[in-house]
């Protein structure tokens, strides 16, 4: 995927020079390896700072909320679906956007890599399907497929669904992916086991809200957790307050989550956050045949009524 860089820079320079857009949102190298950061380019001379590799997991749709200018934005499959969701929810207008589609082959999970080497990682080089990680006194090569983010391994929409221009050829989608193994495992448990499962899952949560901040769906001006009048949820790190926060956060993503993995990626203590949203995603697919962000013409299941909507949960 590193081969995309030249093309991305060329498109960005062209759009900024001819005045099609006022700003390009992409990535630049972070200060430490495997931590590329979002970069807002306004000056065509700065396009050389743009990069693309397998560390661009942050969802750029998050930076489009309520923007007023004309923007070009780089979009992987998941980003593009979140951009669609943003447009449907009136957080930005389609006309304001020039979407540069970036077919994606998956992003790497830096925590997974860090867990498999001894010492601090100082340099990471990618070549095709390999990732070479090195630091003081060690060098290790990984197959990219082994160190992908969990959501990327299960991804079935690698190509952007909406774009004005592509930065590379479309890639082939992964076939025969069983997306809901873990969900079925949890469904098979009884209620106490499930409670215990989620207790354990959240035991290390420090309520830093990084998951919320990284999520492109979380754009409320004041989040329910920050409200104090009325205070919807306790602010302590009492396990039940933490759990209430995660319950509510997940529900706010119902029918909107694209499983981009931004929450999980942002989590400093490595909680598998997607367990919450995946169940809702699965239900949306099974009950309403809905996958979020696939088309601008379809209204989400939660804001439409159809005569054949399932009502098994209404007593």
């Amino acid at each position: 995927m590193t081969g995309y860089i030249e093309k991305i820079r060329e498109i960005a320079a062209r759009l900024l020079t001819d005045g099609t857009v006022e700003m390009v949102i992409g990535f630049r190298k972070g200060t430490v390896p495997m931590m590329n950061e979002p970069f807002f380019v306004k000056n065509p001379l700065e396009v050389a700072t743009l990069v693309w590799d397998s560390n661009c997991g942050i969802n750029l749709a998050n930076y489009l909320t309520d923007r007023k200018e004309k923007i070009a934005v780089l979009a992987k499959g998941c980003d593009s679906r979140n951009i669609v969701t943003h447009i449907i929810e009136n957080k930005i207008k389609r006309e304001q956007l020039y979407i540069i589609g970036v077919p994606c082959k998956g992003m790497i999970d830096r925590q997974r890599i860090a867990g498999r080497v001894d010492g601090e990682i100082l340099k990471v080089v990618e070549a095709e399907e390999r990732v070479v990680v090195s630091g003081r006194g060690f060098e290790k090569t990984f197959d990219k497929a082994d160190v992908l983010q969990a959501n990327c391994r299960l991804c079935i929409h690698r190509n952007p669904v909406l774009y004005d221009e592509l930065a590379a050829e479309l890639v082939s989608e992964q076939q025969d992916v069983d997306r809901y193994v873990e969900e079925r495992r949890i469904e098979a448990m009884d209620v106490q086991q499930r409670w215990a499962y989620f207790d354990e899952l959240l035991a290390s949560c420090i309520r830093c809200y990084a998951c919320r901040n990284a999520c492109p769906l979380c754009y409320c001006p004041t989040c329910f957790v920050d409200e104090s009048r009325p205070q919807w949820v306790g602010k302590s790190i009492d396990p039940i307050d933490t759990r209430t926060f995660h319950f509510l956060r997940a529900y706010h993503c119902a029918g909107r989550c694209t499983d981009c993995g931004a929450c999980e990626r942002a989590c400093p203590v490595g909680i598998n956050m997607r367990v919450f949203t995946k169940k809702l995603e699965k239900d949306c697919l099974e009950l309403y045949g809905w996958e979020a962000g696939m088309s601008l013409d379809q209204r989400p299941p939660l804001d439409t009524y159809k005569v054949d909507d399932p009502e098994i949960f209404i007593k």
Binding site: I186, E187, V191, Q192, Q193, R194, W195, A196, Y197, F198, D199, G234, S236, I237, D238, P239, I240, D241, R243, F247, F276, K279, E311, F313, I314, K315
Partner: protein, 52 residues
């Protein structure tokens, strides 16, 4: 919610029109009975001491 370990009967959803007084009474009776059968919700008790 049941998926995340809350007892299935603890949360119930019903659709009652303002004209359906009988149904409303039925629903209230049913919900009350099923919740009483479940007993107090001990999962949602705070364990940490309250500060400030």
């Amino acid at each position: 919610m049941a998926h995340m370990g809350v007892e299935p009967d603890r949360i119930q959803l019903s659709w009652v029109s303002s004209a359906e007084s009988n149904k409303f009474v039925e629903v209230v009776k049913d919900v009350t009975a099923s919740i009483k059968a479940l007993g107090p919700n001990r999962n949602f008790v705070k364990t940490l001491a309250k500060v400030a």
